[in-house]
Subunit: 225 residues, 2 copies
């Protein structure tokens, strides 16, 4: 496809945001050329607020002046618009499963991980750790190939990017170990496969910056305890 | 379509659940014949727990022995499997919007309405009322036809069924008025259109039972204050 065939594509993201990185990875996998607008999340641009007045968050994709928000909604849009690298399988049942697991990651696994990492109160933290491990167990069981998407990266893999890349750095920063090779051999292997995929690797934030961010956050939380 | 062409379709629902009713309405709009399993949510069946071990909730759709959970995921499956009554538009951008607004209802509007109705603490309640009204305002603005789906009922209409039918009864039970004709003329008219659609009307729970349930819940909350 020549560049003009993609139409006018604008992407609003923010370096460290795992949700924005999902969109970036999906665009790159599909070879879509786009204009990148980097947002400072403490000082959001007028354009971002115009395009996403409801959630006021990255990521936003603007295709031929039409804005779309919410990362999983954007992934489906990318899948239906550019078809170089399919993100969802063709079979309706497998599509339903991909949607189910992507939502499961967003609604259950990621909130539990966040709470496990950032909650100081011991009982709450322990409960969150349990929930996070339970969620990861379901994903471990679901993973039956190189990727959740089979031989190639699909929507669930992209939704789970946080687990592959952000989580180990977060674990290091807060002294927590959830995704052990021991308990989760398949997820562990997957996270390495995923992060070393050339398109993914080139579209992840610098680990040292992320680690610094997590360490600073943990220090501020434990100091204010 | 002859009955056997639909395959073996099992639906697990529970009378009062707005999420389960979404699936029922979508199945009926598509003329899908199914076997109805009514769940007692205080005493869930072995079958329900087998088919939805993760969330342990209705609705579940089982098509040719393959279970699918989560109402919005099921709606998309119905839309991709039986095509008598399309629930999503064809255009990718319009599909993205339908998905965005359906999630907006689930993630923002319904939680705010629930909190506005059932929170006794004044400040929290007032904040929730504000959020609920803000959410309804966005929906009011988005509604530009007979239905969110245009001339026919689509995914957003079905996702918003709670607002059309459950909300007015809840308002009556707890003495709250959110969806006024005054503030929301389009939504108000829509709710009447939606509830009087023959397929919807036949697939809603008896209002008196729902009202009784809401009143009892409110009494127990205010008593334990």
């Amino acid at each position: 496809m020549a560049k003009e065939e993609y139409g006018d594509v604008k992407f609003f993201g923010s370096g460290g945001s795992p949700y924005a990185r999902r969109v970036q990875i999906a665009l790159k996998l599909n070879g879509v050329k786009y204009q990148h607008f980097e947002e400072d999340i403490r000082n959001k641009s007028e354009l971002l607020l115009k395009y996403n007045p409801i959630h006021k968050k990255v990521p936003v994709l603007v295709h031929n002046d039409k804005p779309i928000a919410e990362s999983l909604v954007i992934l489906e849009y990318i899948d239906e618009t550019w078809k170089t690298h399919p993100l969802l399988p063709l079979n309706p049942y497998h599509r339903a499963l991909a949607r189910f697991w992507s939502r499961f990651i967003d609604d259950k696994v990621l909130p539990a991980i966040q709470e496990a990492a950032w909650t100081v109160e011991v009982k709450k933290r322990e409960k969150a750790i349990e929930e996070a491990i339970e969620g990861l167990r379901y994903l471990e069981k679901e993973l039956n190939g190189k990727f959740f998407g089979g031989e190639t990266i699909g929507m669930v893999d992209i939704a789970a990017a946080f687990i592959a890349f952000w989580l180990p750095l977060m674990e290091e920063a807060v002294g927590l170990k959830l995704l052990t090779h021991d308990k989760f051999p398949k997820l562990h292997k997957w996270s390495q496969e995923f992060c070393s995929h050339p398109v993914v690797r080139e579209n992840l934030p610098p680990p040292s910056r992320l680690l610094g961010f997590f360490k600073a956050r943990y220090a501020s939380i434990t100091a204010s305890k």
